[in-house]
Symmetry: none
Subunit: 217 residues, 2 copies
DNA sequence: CCGGGTTGGGGGTTTTTCCCCCATACCCAC
DNA sequence: GTGGGTATGGGGGAAAAACCCCCAACCCGG
């Protein structure tokens, strides 16, 4: 009897508790751990073997895609099922590119979630979006995987730069962002300068628009 | 033997399922209904009597504050416990002003949530925020709340004020907003002052958060 | 070892915000 | 018609924030 070992990674404790009850209520599943951010997810995944990692893309710390990439490089590697509130094909695409095996929105019914866990456990790919489009792109996604530059005009942003960008786009002053990240205002100014150099984002309104397009908000 | 009748209002079905299991597992609580948006919440609340409405502020449809205001006007009126992912005193303030009896973030542990339900059911006010800032403003909120529990709704914004709010929330400076609306910067300053007076939205980050909650962006 | 990222600083200017005061004009309700 | 709320605009000054140049240390990966 091998039940599906699930690791829950979500920053909302209430949701984790709910998911745990839901999963533990299944005869063929068990919860082997919980994590509240990306780093904790990786360390938990290193401590306990799991078959499926139920992962929220939007957690504090490193971007969800980076967490996925590291998870699937583990040995033995768990399958990653992304559980997110973003009903968005762009998110889906980046998640699959990073190595996720499934993508389900939080709006989905619980039976769907359980079904998705079983599908990805058995090696399948589960995708659940209410918004249409991008259907057969999934295949294409596999091929593109990790090699195509995809018109790399904008220089890639570091994680830290993305964090700073997000805070500033949300209307925080340099000082407020510095406090949030527990660094000096000078550091924020430096990051902001780099954002300006790399992407031409000068005013706060520029930062806001870019953040919206990049779906950072 | 009267158990606490809870109505769950959240647009994430998975979370609802989790909450239902969590609550049903308590001997003194029962779930009498679920809703996925503001309108459904109101109709459900009209159909079944409930003691506590567990409400997510960020749902499709009307703003969460409007839903709260209508809920507390029902007879008999349920107590509203806001369950949100926004760990933010500004959100707290608007929720309490709208008539909520409690505010708990989704990051909170499940035992805290259960405790909060019991507190508001017994007529208390439960507030849970991890962020310490904005102290004097919090006091103000509590004061207003004590004086006029459900009455002190935020004054409605004029159309123009909403426009200004939107532009400023998008990161535009006063001058940029003035240019957009073809008015003087002094006019923007005046509107901004009104926003500050009416809703306590002082910093640009405050404006941003409120605009997000009000779905203006 | 070099380059990029992250951190932090000195020291200055310019921009923006914020605060008080004020005014006119419109519309709507009492 | 008088008062209240909204929208518009202003003067002037203090404070805060942003912006600009320079610099430097540390760490890490190729």
């Amino acid at each position: 009897m091998s039940s599906i070992r699930v690791l829950i990674a979500d920053d909302h404790a209430v949701l984790r508790a709910g998911l745990r009850m839901l999963i533990e209520a299944q005869s063929d599943m068990e919860v082997v751990g919980e994590a509240a951010d990306g780093l904790e997810t990786l360390s938990r995944a290193g401590e306990v073997e799991s078959d499926v990692v139920l992962l929220d893309l939007s957690m504090p710390g490193p971007p969800g895609t980076a967490t996925i990439e590291r998870l699937v490089r583990l040995v033995p590697s768990p399958r990653v099922l992304v559980l997110t509130m973003h009903d968005d094909p762009v998110y889906l695409r980046t998640a699959l590119l990073a190595g996720a095996s499934g993508y389900i929105v939080k709006k989905a019914a619980d039976v769907e979630l359980l079904s998705a866990i079983r599908v990805v456990y058995h090696g399948g790919t589960f995708v659940n979006l209410t918004r249409p489009g991008e259907d057969q792109r999934s295949d294409e996604v596999r091929h593109v995987h990790r090699d195509s530059p995809a018109a790399g005009q904008p220089k890639p942003l570091s994680q830290r730069e993305v964090e700073v960008l997000r805070l500033l786009a949300q209307g925080h002053t340099n000082q407020e962002a510095a406090d949030r990240l527990a660094v000096s205002i000078k550091t924020i100014e430096t990051h902001r300068k780099r954002l300006s150099d790399k992407l031409g984002l000068k005013s706060r309104a520029d930062l806001f628009r870019f953040a919206v397009e990049a779906r950072l908000l």
